[in-house]
Amino acid sequence: MKVKGMHCKSCEVLLSDVVEELGGKAISSDFKKGTIVAEFPTNPNREKIKEAFKTEGYSVEGFS
């Protein structure tokens, strides 16, 4: 997914943490490109992910 607002390594750690709390696993993230690749066991609720990222101050721009 494409995420807006990541500017450093800590942001990556933070968002990986959020993904884990939602039951997923962050495979890789790149703050320079603003991307996170995450794996979820079942099809994730995208609205829920958006909401959780938003509370931390980041916005999801799109899923791929």
Partner: protein, 313 residues
Amino acid sequence: MSEVTLRINGLTCGACERVIERTVQKFEGARVTSFDFNRGTIRIESSNKELKEILELLKKKGYHAWDPSKPEALTSEEPLDRVKEFISGILSNNHSFQLERSILTATVMVLAASLAIHAAASIVIGRSLLQSNLAWLLLGSIGIAMGVGSIAHIRSFGKQTCQTGMMAGMGIGMMLGFLAGALFGATSGMFVGSVLGIVVGMVIGAWAGTCCGNMGVLEGLMAGLMAGTMGAMLSVMMVFDHQLEFLVILWIVCAIILGGLSYMLFKENGPVSSELSVNPWPLVGIGVVLTILLQLIIFFGPKTAWTIATGGA
């Protein structure tokens, strides 16, 4: 439940704050009560048993936190005894001082390499030029080794808090500005000495200061300007009055201050020293390049006003 103040490494932005908060909150009843970015400290409320696990988990996330009232490596109450502990810790094989020991080794290697370059130069360009400049070349080599070692120490820690970073920028800018200004003031005159002193002091001081940002960079720039000109001034003013003796004193004082800077870095960054070390070979490479530059400037660089009038240094 009790509340402790901890020093923490790597606390630089809002995201760090959130990561730390979330990590601590994973433990029942534990919470972060305050953050202090300038000091690099946090306050955590938790049970004593949990605190250990919290620190472990924070470390896994890349934040090394510790209780500054219970330093792991320096245990003495007396400040002077702590300094002694620091020195003997580096010289002995104590794991807590791994980084500092590797820096010291690298510094000695840089010095050795620099002296070897002088020996090689005496073969290439003849002994007389080298002999007449021997004192300056030796002082230059010692200065290069001290500078390379100090900067390697600062750079190995990454981001620093404001106070530490400003001290690093100012300390490095001022000491290296002094060394370069005084040395080239003696070999090449007031103008060349001042300009080179300013360049070395300001550029390297600013670079050392980047470990905390704007303030460190500014400290480095100001200190470099001041010491670069001052160093050259002292050298030239003492040309007929124990110039070399004074430079030796200046070098010793600078070495003590740079050693103090390393001690401060160790104290501020605490336990991470046992996890880091430097590879000496790139530093030796830098030392060799700087030594060659030093020779070029002393042997073939421009000499201004007084050196020509008095027939050279």
